[in-house]
């Protein structure tokens, strides 16, 4: 009875020793010095390996960050929280870690009701195939064809096709990887910083007359938006309005002015400035800088914002040194202005 146990223990122990020793030897000889920070960064990254950062998967990005080749906030999917974690790992302070989160947006409103159709298409149901034949079935060569190539390629399923034949992007789910923008043969989808709510939903560079002939929601280059914009953030070149996302302050004046409704915004109403009485010391800085003179009040007295005139551009909040102004939209509590770089 006992000898079986002894032999078994001895043989297993011997085997364990032999193999353990072999592995120890091998791990010493074949030791590969991996930077411990790389594993920590991989841990912090979302791990979707979507390639949006341009590196081969998260491990590729982690190596680049560890070697200092890539900034801490490269990962668009992770956004600020991930960037802060990586910054801690890399020993930098978090200030520069804040990133602009980008989301995909549809720059075309030519759905089944708005855009005319020039041919009936019965071929392979993918936008790529359809766009090869005479620029797609729609009369407007820039219009979205609507077979959902973007929907198929989206790794997180953020895109669904509306009944009007246009893709709808769920901005919470969207991780800004840009795969849909690459996939779309008509470049209807583009990656736009999330904080920019206003966008021109048309890219047709044909003459106004032709655009109006093919689509009721196209940009007819009437330049109304250009005239009304207080911040010189929108220009019509090549017959279509273009927004400079650095300058645009989401004041939505152009959205109201645009006759064909081509310029759209994520939210129905604009933000409004509200002065917090306790903090306001009446330095009148906001009143001086307000482009539409919506703020009134004497020096050293608490000022007031006229809610009807205010266009929600946020300059007053930026200028106010006492942080006494907050932007309010009826739905959200307080949202910071779009371009305030502290």
């Amino acid at each position: 009875m006992a000898d079986i146990i002894i032999t078994s223990v001895l043989s297993m122990g011997g085997l364990g020793l032999l193999l353990g020793g072999g592995l120890a030897l091998a791990s010493k000889k074949l030791a590969v010095e991996t930077d411990p920070r790389v594993d920590a960064i991989i841990e912090a990254l979302p791990g979707a390996n979507c390639g949006a950062c341009g590196y081969p998967g998260c491990s590729g990005l982690a190596k680049a960050i560890a070697e200092g080749k890539a900034p801490v906030n490269t990962c668009p999917v992770g956004g600020a929280p991930v960037a802060e974690k990586i910054a801690k790992i890399m020993g930098m302070d978090e200030a520069i870690a804040s990133t602009e989160r980008k989301v995909a947006r549809v720059l075309c409103q030519g759905g089944k009701t708005e855009a005319k159709v020039k041919s009936e298409y019965h071929g392979i149901k993918t936008c790529k195939a359809a766009s090869m034949i005479n620029n797609g079935p729609k009369a407007c060569p820039f219009a979205c064809i609507g077979f959902g190539d973007c929907k198929k390629v989206c790794p997180v399923g953020a895109i669904t096709m509306g009944e009007n034949g246009l893709p709808y992007v769920d901005e919470e789910k969207c991780i800004g990887c840009g795969l849909c923008a690459q996939e779309c043969p008509k470049d209807v989808l583009a990656l736009i910083p999330e904080k920019n709510e206003v966008r021109v939903s048309c890219r047709a560079t044909m003459k106004a007359k032709d655009t109006r002939a093919v689509c009721t929601a196209g940009c007819i280059a009437c330049k109304q938006c250009e005239k009304v914009c207080p911040f010189d953030a929108i220009h019509v070149n090549n017959n279509v309005a273009m927004i400079d996302y650095e300058k645009c302050r989401n004041c939505m004046l152009c959205v109201e002015k645009c006759p064909t409704g081509t310029i759209t915004s994520t939210f129905a109403e604009r933000k409004k400035a509200v002065i917090i009485e306790e903090k306001c010391i009446g330095c009148t800085l906001c009143a001086k800088n307000c482009p539409v003179n919506a703020i009134s009040g004497e020096v050293k007295k608490v000022h007031k914002v006229d809610q009807d005139i205010c266009i929600g551009c946020g300059i007053c909040q930026e200028k106010c040194r006492k942080d006494a102004i907050k932007m309010v939209r009826n739905g959200q509590k307080d949202c910071d202005t779009c371009t305030a770089v502290k």
């Binding site: 078994s8 043989s11 297993m12 364990g16 193999l19 353990g20 592995l23 120890a24 010493k28």
Partner: protein, 180 residues
């Protein structure tokens, strides 16, 4: 150094522990397993030697022969294992034989991995009973004196050939008509 030492020690301790646990459980279960195996063997031997009630194991040259005895202890026949190479793998069978009359008394398939529904039919009584009473001189060739299962000729020939080869070896030890 300690990191490597720790590796070796932990691995060794775990393997020793597992060796001990396994040896212990082997000790506990081994008698039961031997008992089970013996019982199964006896069942199949008694099945292929009709009328036998007890079994005796006899070692003859390199073959193990099982003697089938009835209640009074006189010999009813002998049985031995045979192996054939079937369609999907080895087929193991138990062959019952009465050397004095030179006739087979029974065949049972112990283990096989033939395709279910086709080759697996060799396990059924319909196929194995045809061997009862066949004499040693028969040729044991499928489709001639052994009725093969349709669609499973390879398995049937494997069984027939296995019986034939094992019978030839046994005949060298127990000549036909001789005592056993």
């Amino acid at each position: 150094m300690n990191q490597y030492a720790k590796m070796i020690i932990v691995l060794m301790i775990i393997s020793i522990a597992s060796g001990a646990v396994l040896a212990l459980s082997y000790e506990v279960t081994n008698p039961k397993i031997q008992e089970q195996a013996r019982q199964k063997l006896e069942e199949s031997v008694l099945k292929v030697i009709p009328g036998a009630a007890k079994m005796e194991v006899v070692q003859k040259e390199d073959m193990t022969i099982y003697l089938g005895l009835d209640e009074q202890g006189n010999k009813k026949g002998i049985a031995f294992k045979a192996v054939g190479s079937g369609f999907n793998g080895a087929i193991e069978l138990m062959v019952g034989y009465n050397p004095s009359e030179g006739k087979l008394t029974g065949v049972e398939i112990l283990s096989m991995s033939e395709t279910p529904g086709l080759g697996a039919k060799i396990k059924e009584e319909a196929f194995t009973n045809q061997f009862n009473g066949k004499s040693v001189e028969d040729k044991f060739i499928a489709k001639e004196d052994v009725q093969a299962i349709s669609g499973a000729t390879i398995s049937s020939t494997a069984v027939a050939k296995a019986v034939k080869t094992s019978l030839d070896n046994v005949m060298k030890i127990y000549p036909v008509g001789g005592d056993f």
